[in-house]
Amino acid sequence: MGGQERCFFPAPNVLPMKHLLSKRFRQEIEGLLFVLPYLLLWGTFVLWPLGYGVYLSLFDWHPIRGSKFVGLTNYIALFKDVRFLNALSNSFKFAAMVVPLVLIIAFLFALLLWGWKGNRRLSSFAQAVFFFPYLLTVSVIAITWRWLLDPDFGFVTFIFKYFRIPAPTFLSDPFWALPAVALATVWWLSGYRMVVFQAALGDIPQELFEVAILDGAHLNQILFRVILPLMKPAILFSLVLTTISAFRTFGQVLMMTEGGPGRATEVLALYIYWNAFEYFRIGRAAAAGVVMLFFTLLLTLLGVKILGLRSELY
């Protein structure tokens, strides 16, 4: 090649204007073709259902007897329904418990593993142990925790009894039920976020730590002035993912409590599920889905606004 890059097109300076435009156009087409398979799938399985969901939310949907356009009636009915408001509130409470806990625990695990990186065996073993719950399906998580918290046979109950402390009936107590489901969720999700944080920690140039230490920075200064600012994109990514997961939580609630006791753990996704698949009120369920999407987007944008998209490094 003689140090010259291989070029499929003649050099721009010898091309007339129309060819230049044609090249740009071709590049755009090429780019579009590359993303087209993804766009097609995304459009079919995300965009179209989303649009159809919004459309359905404006109807009293009954395809056999005939659907009726009702405008915003489903939305108005939602905000008059105490059950929906309770589910919305539970979703916020759940997210408020799960998101910070997942991020903090995952970050602490990542720091721990980072500190152990000299001992490869210990580090790999601990990483596998921390990550393992994420490999399990939601049903396994729910059944495992239901048994762990069982008031008769549960291991957690046993520990309480061993230390002669009266054990709460976690899943039957309206005060404890939501935190108990949140705890199971934190156990489940922390491993994956830990891997994200580990990767981000690994990307921080070693020289920055050396300079900080030479400058006499304390541990907390290194943490807050070096590590955390440089991990912003990873934290934002984890924050967004965890917020979405927490707000859409469904399987573990259905399998651990069915939304009870009473409606103490009935979250938005469960409310939608009952309305769609048990009561077959598709219009109302679709409206609740749109509201859930709105709040998920709102929380995500809030996270982006607070943290910003870029790390301090770039």
Binding site: D150, P151, D152, F153, T169, S172, E258, A276, F280
Partner: protein, 418 residues
């Protein structure tokens, strides 16, 4: 070349005969799982061995979303040709089912040779709506009293004489509690809907009704409803017969529980656990010894226009076969067959299940002591409203009086279209 073409034509004709001329393909969707699913699979396999001209695709195991899927399959124009419908769901599902006596190809009950006289009158009539028959009864299932004979003996009770009156029942519970066991669990695994069923049993035994006949308002917030709920709440609290959140199934199979209200589907589990168990009717605690129960029935979901007559007839042939051979259903699944001929089958009468529990549940059914769930287009929502507050009362979050008042208010809101 001619030979080759001849062979090709021969293959095509044979394929056409097999595909269109002889074998009719139908799909049968059920919501059954575990032992029930196995029992239905056995019956369908038997049918297949006797009727190779009908190919049945059996789809089972979906409980939670079954009715939604059935509706959506009708909407999508791709329904199964045979399905299952709980009798109390008819009112919700009627738009999605074929009227069997007025189908597009004629009266399927007559064409399929279904004789209504073989079924209990009340169960048969429960499958009617708007002057049409939509369902064919398969079974009746319900709750009974399971008790641990070894615990009875340890508590100084007669293992062959389970309690049947209020006084006997309370005395038995106290004796079992004193012996160091959980005395009684009224609601299987204590899920909200199970707690509601337990309360309904107590309330129905007092002669109570949940709603007025026209479903204009709730009628359970009264002295009887309160007494029934207080009794339920006290079981887990004041009486100390069990603990809040306790799983009756697990307690019983672990040999820690003296008595349990549970459905006939518990039989395979308890048998496998090795517990020395006995089975009795639900005791007469408050006047009429009612128990909670329901009925699975067969239905033909609404078929797309132009569905061939042969497909309807094949579905009816399978439906008739299932009801006539429902002894297999009872022996394996535990639900009591609705077809009287199936109930007389000597293989069923000689089975362990029948001797150990089936005949007792059948006795309750024949005496009309099994109360079916409410039948209303928004029945699921009404039940949810009731069970939500019953559970809160059981866990001590609100008082029984408050629970009934809140449940009543929510039910009335639902009944008024809210």
């Amino acid at each position: 070349m001619k030979k080759f073409l001849g062979v090709l034509v021969g293959i095509a004709v044979s394929w056409w005969l097999v595909s269109f001329g002889q074998v009719v393909e139908i799909e049968f969707n059920t919501l059954f799982h575990e032992a029930d699913a196995k029992a239905m699979e056995n019956i369908v396999n038997l049918f297949q061995s006797l009727h190779p001209e009908i190919k049945v695709r059996l789809v089972q195991g979906r409980w939670a979303q079954y009715y939604a899927e059935l509706r959506l399959s009708v909407i999508a124009g791709n329904p199964p040709q045979l399905g299952i419908c709980h009798v109390n769901r008819l009112v919700e599902m009627v738009d999605y089912l074929t009227p069997l006596d007025a189908s597009p190809v004629g009266n399927l009950l007559e064409l399929g040779g279904i004789d209504p006289a073989l079924f209990p009158e009340a169960t048969w009539k429960a499958g009617q709506m708007g002057g049409h028959q939509y369902l064919i009864p398969l079974d009746t299932h319900g709750w009974g009293l399971w008790y641990n004979k070894d615990i009875f003996a340890a508590a100084g009770l007669d293992p062959d004489k389970p309690p049947q009156t209020y006084d006997e029942f309370v005395a038995a519970c106290e004796a079992i509690k004193k012996a160091g066991y959980y005395a009684f669990h009224p609601a299987e695994d204590a899920l909200p809907r199970k707690l509601r069923r337990a309360w309904e049993i107590f309330y129905y035994q007092m002669g109570g009704e949940l709603f007025d006949p026209a479903f204009t308002h709730a009628t359970f917030n009264n002295e009887k409803g309160l007494k029934a709920l207080e009794f339920l709440v006290n079981i887990f609290n004041a009486y100390g017969w069990n603990v809040v959140g306790g799983n009756g199934y697990a307690q019983f199979t672990a040999g820690k529980l003296g008595m349990l209200f549970a459905g006939n589907w518990f039989y395979p589990t308890v048998k496998q656990s090795g517990v020395n168990f006995g089975y009795a009717p639900v005791p007469n605690l408050f006047g009429i010894p009612y128990t909670w129960g329901a009925s699975h029935q067969l239905c033909i979901p609404l078929q797309p226009a132009g569905t061939p007559r042969e497909v309807y007839l094949a579905a009816m042939k399978l439906a008739r076969f299932i009801t006539e051979n429902a002894y297999l259903w009872t022996m394996t699944g535990g639900h009591i067959a609705a077809n009287s001929k199936a109930l007389e089958d000597p293989r069923l009468l000689a089975s362990d299940y029948w001797k150990e529990s089936g005949h007792i549940l059948n006795d309750m059914i024949q005496k009309g002591l099994v109360r079916f769930p409410i039948n209303h287009p928004r029945g699921s929502e009404l039940e949810n409203a009731i069970e939500t507050y019953i559970e809160l009362a059981v866990v001590g979050q609100i008082s029984p009086a408050e629970a009934l008042a809140k449940a009543e208010a929510e039910c009335n809101r639902i009944l008024q279209g809210g």
